[in-house]
């Protein structure tokens, strides 16, 4: 005989269906339910003793959503009769203050309502944390909507018998969430596409426990009605070549009002050579091991960058910044801006290489090995003996496609303006304001100008012939200083240095216009300023 009891949620009956209007995608809603299983596994400290087994059964009927169903079963701690009250209330969760709060995935006590309500209109929960009885209740949104201010959910407690003691993936404790009457179709391909990326960190033991050591037990995720090898989901791999793995360790700060916050992001990026899909390039972002965003490229791509040039770039980042209520994306916040700025800055030195790596994907193994060896050398990573010998025999890679593009872009005369080997710039200072570039002489001209159009001391304009003109606005106080410095530079080192800086600025703009590489331009800076 079942014992009946009533759960009284402290919210309006329509709160359940409304909670589903979160705009979640199906994969996100399903992940929220799996995240609850993971949290239960950690909070009960079962993560130290046994694997977490989660089974996802989907019966999607595109033309009969009413009779479609999704069932998620775990062998975790399960819930007590008392816990059921919290489950159905909004924003009531023990997680933030729990011993393991820092590493838990749930934040706000909203995941269950938000995600089940998003997927379907009828929800059934079967759960227990003990071996004596188990509990079952169903929520039908339309019925609760009608109950208004004082909704009641009828629940039952059943005796736990030998057969039911294996209900939860072979375990006596755990939870089954069943969702029926779908709001939309959930194609099975979504599960196979998203689950391996979403949970790969828990599947491979790449998540840290409170003590900073990896969690030794794993999440085993099955899709299907049986716990068979065929139904086991295998973890996603970025397929980044091991020799290109580059660690990312970012610390960043931001302000919210007057309060200063600190964030940390750790992970890696690398280059893959097995495929180069524009769809799957990018960084997968996780929070405490749960996927937040997949294939993100906004972290490293500037507005002018070509998506196509980054197809070999992949990586993972685990962040500790705030995410929105249902962890579907990084919050559009100061924290997110600070993370993006930090990543973009960190990534700058690698940008020229990204294109070379994406070109290498389409080449043979020899070219790929050379690209990898070059990469390791450029970023001071240790080189294997074979990489050393590759470099000794073949040298550097040049972005030949850039050369080709330039050639196409500029027509027949490009060879005049862009040196063939841009890594070796033929630059020499002849006088304080004269230099030779690729055998041609140029002069940086300081032209006094009796006006002050932009309220700046000087303006560098487009080069004409062999001149790099600078207009010095003599009515600006600092403009007068610049003109004055020209006559005093032989006696005064500060004046000389001031002019050197301005001359370099003009040369830098000129070299940028000619598409010289940053590295070469920095070399020129040394020459100009060392005089």
């Amino acid at each position: 005989m079942a014992r009946k009891f009533v759960i009284k949620p402290k919210l309006h009956g329509s709160g359940f269906s409304k909670a589903g209007n979160t705009g979640l995608k199906s994969w996100q809603a399903i992940n929220e339910l799996i995240a609850n299983s993971v949290d239960s596994w950690i909070m009960s400290e079962q993560h130290k003793k046994s694997d977490l087994i989660v089974k996802v059964e989907l019966d999607n009927r595109t033309n009969d959503l009413k009779n479609s169903s999704l069932r998620i079963v775990d062998n975790s701690l399960g819930m007590s009769e008392k816990d059921l009250e919290k489950l159905v209330n909004h924003y009531e969760s023990d997680k933030p203050n729990h011993k393991y709060g820092k590493i838990l995935l749930g934040l706000y006590g909203f995941g269950f309502k938000g995600s089940t309500g998003n997927l379907g209109r009828k929800i059934t929960v079967i759960t227990t944390d003990n071996t004596k009885e188990y509990y079952k209740f169903s929520i039908v949104h339309s019925e609760l909507d009608e109950m208004g201010l004082e909704p009641e959910i009828n629940a039952e407690a059943f005796d736990h018998e030998s057969t039911t003691k294996k209900l939860f993936n072979g375990s006596p404790t755990g939870t089954i969430i069943q969702i029926e009457d779908f709001r939309r179709s959930i194609p099975p391909a979504i599960l196979y596409d998203w689950l391996p990326v979403s949970w790969q960190k828990f599947m491979t033991g790449d998540v840290l426990d409170l003590d900073g050591k990896p969690i030794s037990k794993r999440l085993k995720l099955y899709v299907g009605s049986e716990l068979t090898k065929e139904n086991l989901i295998l973890p996603y791999s970025t397929e980044a070549h091991k020799d290109t793995l580059t660690p990312i360790n970012l610390k960043f700060e931001w302000f919210e009002g007057k309060n200063k916050f600190k964030g940390v992001a750790e992970g890696f990026f690398g280059f893959r050579f097995k495929n180069a899909s524009m769809v799957t390039q990018g960084i997968n972002i996780y929070r405490n091991g749960q996927l937040i965003e997949r294939y993100n490229h906004s972290l490293y791509m500037g507005k002018a960058d070509k998506h196509n040039d980054h197809n070999s770039l992949v990586g993972e980042l685990n962040v500790n910044v705030a995410v929105n209520t249902v962890k579907t994306t990084l919050e559009d916040s100061e924290a997110e801006k600070a993370l993006k700025e930090a990543f973009y800055k960190e990534f700058q030195p690698y940008k020229p290489t990204v294109r070379l790596m994406s070109i290498a994907v389409s080449k043979d193994k020899e070219h790929i090995d050379l690209a990898i060896a070059n990469y390791r050398k450029e970023f001071n990573m240790t080189l294997s003996s074979s990489q050393k010998s590759i470099l000794n025999s073949k040298g550097s890679l040049i972005d030949s496609s850039t050369e080709t593009n330039k050639s196409n872009k500029s027509g027949t005369k490009t060879s005049k303006s862009v040196p063939k080997n841009k890594l070796n710039i033929n630059f020499k200072m002849i006088d304080w304001n004269q230099f030779s570039l690729e055998g041609k002489n140029y002069t940086v001209e300081f032209n006094p100008f009796d006006g002050n159009p932009d309220n700046v001391p000087y303006t560098i304009t487009s080069p004409t012939g062999n001149s790099l003109p600078i207009y010095v606005y003599i009515k600006h106080p600092n403009g007068a200083i610049i003109m004055d410095a020209q006559s005093k530079q032989s006696k005064n080192r500060s004046d000389k240095f001031l002019l050197q800086l301005i001359v370099y600025e003009a040369i830098e703009a000129f070299l940028n216009r000619l598409n010289f590489k940053k590295k070469d331009i920095l070399g020129v800076k040394e020459i100009v300023l060392e005089r």
Partner: protein, 241 residues
């Protein structure tokens, strides 16, 4: 697109049309504008730029070519003939032909008070017919372009089906936008979307969103035909040349 770019591009077009190549001010102004244009040139394909600028594709390509030169080369070219087209046309002419045309051009221009660059185009037109032939021979389509050409020919109702399915699959916004555009009459895949669109279709096949349908369910007939066509075309595309 940057407003500055739009304005400067149109200034360049006007100056080239004016074509007063012996006027130093004209040359300086045009050269400066072209170098500025190079810095502002947006990172999008010519075909998309064609729509945004509402200008001829050939002119956009020619101006892009000019803007890619260094300022000295621009000034040299402007000084010699100032013709938008002639610089490109030279690639397909031998040195004797170029000298011959330039000499005639200067000869004619010498008699004029205000010589115009346009004359050189007329002088070169005979040779350019040959050039057109060369260009036609050269323009063999890539495998990707051939695939896109085939996809562009798909019946519109098939894209309607894919759009509904892709929404269920929670596909990326960019992909949904492209498919939505394709459902419209006379719409084609934009060049800037070629790679992405094909990559996404390959992805959908790899992940079994698009798969062979074996059932004879009539309700799924359009879907079956669409999937069969997509799989067939992408298999063809994936074959090595």
């Amino acid at each position: 697109m940057n407003d500055k770019f739009f304005v400067k591009y149109n200034q360049v077009v006007e100056l080239f049309e004016l074509g007063t190549y012996e006027d130093e001010q004209w040359r300086m102004q045009l050269a400066t504008l072209l170098t500025e244009l190079a810095d502002l040139w947006p990172n999008i394909d010519f075909e998309d730029l064609e729509l945004q600028l509402n200008d001829y594709l050939w002119r956009i390509k020619q101006i892009h070519m000019w803007a890619g030169l260094d300022i000295n080369s621009i000034l040299d070219e402007l000084d010699a003939h100032g013709s938008l087209y002639f610089m490109d046309a030279k690639k397909y002419l031998n040195p004797e032909e170029i000298d011959d045309i330039l000499e005639k051009f200067w000869e004619i221009s010498g008699d004029s008070n205000l010589p115009k660059s346009g004359t050189i185009y007329r002088l070169a037109i005979g040779k350019l017919k040959k050039l057109e032939q060369i260009k036609k021979n050269k323009s063999q389509k890539s495998k990707l372009e051939l695939l896109i050409q085939k996809l562009n020919k798909f019946e519109k109702h098939k894209w309607d089906v894919l759009l509904n399915l892709a929404s269920d699959w929670e596909s990326e916004e960019r992909f949904l936008r492209i498919v939505k555009d394709l459902t419209k009459i006379n719409s084609k895949i934009k060049k800037s979307d070629f790679n992405y669109f094909v990559d996404y279709l390959v992805y959908l096949i790899e992940k079994d969103y698009i798969q062979e349908i074996v059932s004879d369910n009539k309700a799924e007939l359009t879907k079956k035909l669409l999937f069969d066509d997509l799989i067939k075309e992408l298999k063809e595309y994936a074959k090595k040349p």
